[in-house]
Point group: C2
Chain length 341, copies 2
Amino acid sequence: MELSERKQKILALIVEYFIATGEPIGSKLISSAFETSISSATIRNEMAELSEKGYLEQPHTSAGRVPSQKGYRYYVDHLMGRYEISPSEQFRIGNLLKNAVGEPERVLAQASGILAEMTGCAALSTTPLDSQTRIKRVELVPIGTRTAMVVLLASSGVIKSRVCRMDSELTLEVMELFYNVAAAHFLGQRASDIHTAGVQTIVASLGEKAFLMTPLMVALSELSQASTRSEVLLDGQSNLLNYRELENNACELLEFLNRGEPLSKLLIASRDELSVLIGRENFFREMENSSMILASYRIAGQDAGTVGIIGPTRIDYARLIPSIRFISRIVSGILSDSVEE
Amino acid sequence: MELSERKQKILALIVEYFIATGEPIGSKLISSAFETSISSATIRNEMAELSEKGYLEQPHTSAGRVPSQKGYRYYVDHLMGRYEISPSEQFRIGNLLKNAVGEPERVLAQASGILAEMTGCAALSTTPLDSQTRIKRVELVPIGTRTAMVVLLASSGVIKSRVCRMDSELTLEVMELFYNVAAAHFLGQRASDIHTAGVQTIVASLGEKAFLMTPLMVALSELSQASTRSEVLLDGQSNLLNYRELENNACELLEFLNRGEPLSKLLIASRDELSVLIGRENFFREMENSSMILASYRIAGQDAGTVGIIGPTRIDYARLIPSIRFISRIVSGILSDSVEE
DNA sequence: TGTTAGCACTCTTAGCCATCGAGTGCTAAC
DNA sequence: GTTAGCACTCGATGGCTAAGAGTGCTAACA
């Protein structure tokens, strides 16, 4: 599916003008954009062929052309220029992110916030996850006489905690028992191997002391299971309301994003170093007018999660892709550092 | 500002029909709604007077009447019927909420979620806060050789935690020092009395061991300060996009809600057992077309925070107010229980 | 063979106008 | 105080026209 050099240039110009203005582009504008003068009639001939091949669309006969999804795809794959973020911007973002020390969730939430603000789109990130996630550490923090916080550290660096009320007092004996059970049945296990049924068996095996452990073990098993789920952190959803072309289904789109789960599956399925999903490539009907730019971040060399943005298909791919790449690199660095030891 | 009984009935009917349909209400409809037959001309006379007194508005001369903000206010204060939630609904909600055990944040987030789903509006809740909040307990949980989680329990029941990377190893000595400093300078203090400057002095007074404590103390002081801030937990924002009357400024409204801080101030300022804020009563321009229904929840008998909803001014006050009252009662119960000990 | 000027054609947009219908306010009678 | 009747207002609807943008096609040209 080769395109002549001139057709490529015309397509690139149409995509870029359309991204900038949102208005259908006519042959006259393109002809005037060429340095070597080419008449609008010639451009029209070329545009007709581009339409025939499916790269352009016409809202109606007397309107200009608009890139089709195939057109955007060709632009992204072959035509798009490569921009770089300015060093000062790099510096600014790096600082903002490095200040968000602490749990991976904090770093990622901050990354989403920065992306949303930089790009004017909705931004997202997923919490770290790999299928091999193991339980690295478990702690019990006394909060009150009958209340404790169970803390779970996963090998992915994710930290989950849950406050837990108990039926009995939190004595030293209870704590010791807890740590023993945790060491015997949880530490080092794959988080995905922890099942509610298995935990019930463990509790039952404690005999008369079972009732002391039940709430704690339930919490621990819930935390384990939670650490195997990738959560989606969203930010800047309201930015999407600024795009005319999303107006009709903004409501549907926002609801879809907030539902979380289908989006999360989509993100796991398309985890690549960098992926650009245009319109219907997003698979879900709710997103057929949107594009996503996603970059995976790595922890200690392993793909661990995704950061990215969601906007209209008419999104400034050339300028935003480098931003997302950059953020993902920084996030990879910060999260790898924190998991290192 | 007395209104005759008949005027009251007409106003109530107009408010209720308008809430149900969103269309301006004409005199004919109201006249047919009266059991004792009254001609539309009579209704027109009454409506003209209600307009003159400011309870009704006309979008344009040939349209019916619409309640003004003053009209809604009168309706809410004097005319509105009292509905109750069905016992089965009460049971369902009670169960959903009781399952969200753990930190107050989890309970409140769940409450917001339930409210959003029940009411079709955006729902909110604020984390517990009173000006007397003291630091009740501090814990240090080892996470890695150079990483620890600082946990802070406030007297309000709020639990804050932060993972903290240190410049040195987390030895027993460091932990002991941390607990000593925390006991001496943090425990029992008012959270609002902890200032960054004060913490710096404390760190400095440790002499050569200062560098061991710096990151931990910074984290602890940030957590203290965080526990004096009331956070707003929002849910169901996308519900607001379903209301035609909010369409024009939905974007502005959502951005305002997400900004958090001004909203939080507004909520603290109007913390009453139950308050209904209609249109411009919300003080902020962004909310002049919205209404809020807020109920404060109590922890151990003390006003602690707010749960409520945000919707268009055309909201079903009569049916939603009891729901919010009910949720606030349940939340009060759950949170009081968990703080009791 | 590729390029271009010219022209007829299509289709949207905006404005105008008449019509329709809902709802009002007023008057006069009860 | 209530009501019937009527003139009036004003938005919504739909048809019509003119303007404008942009196309596709044809025929001429290099």
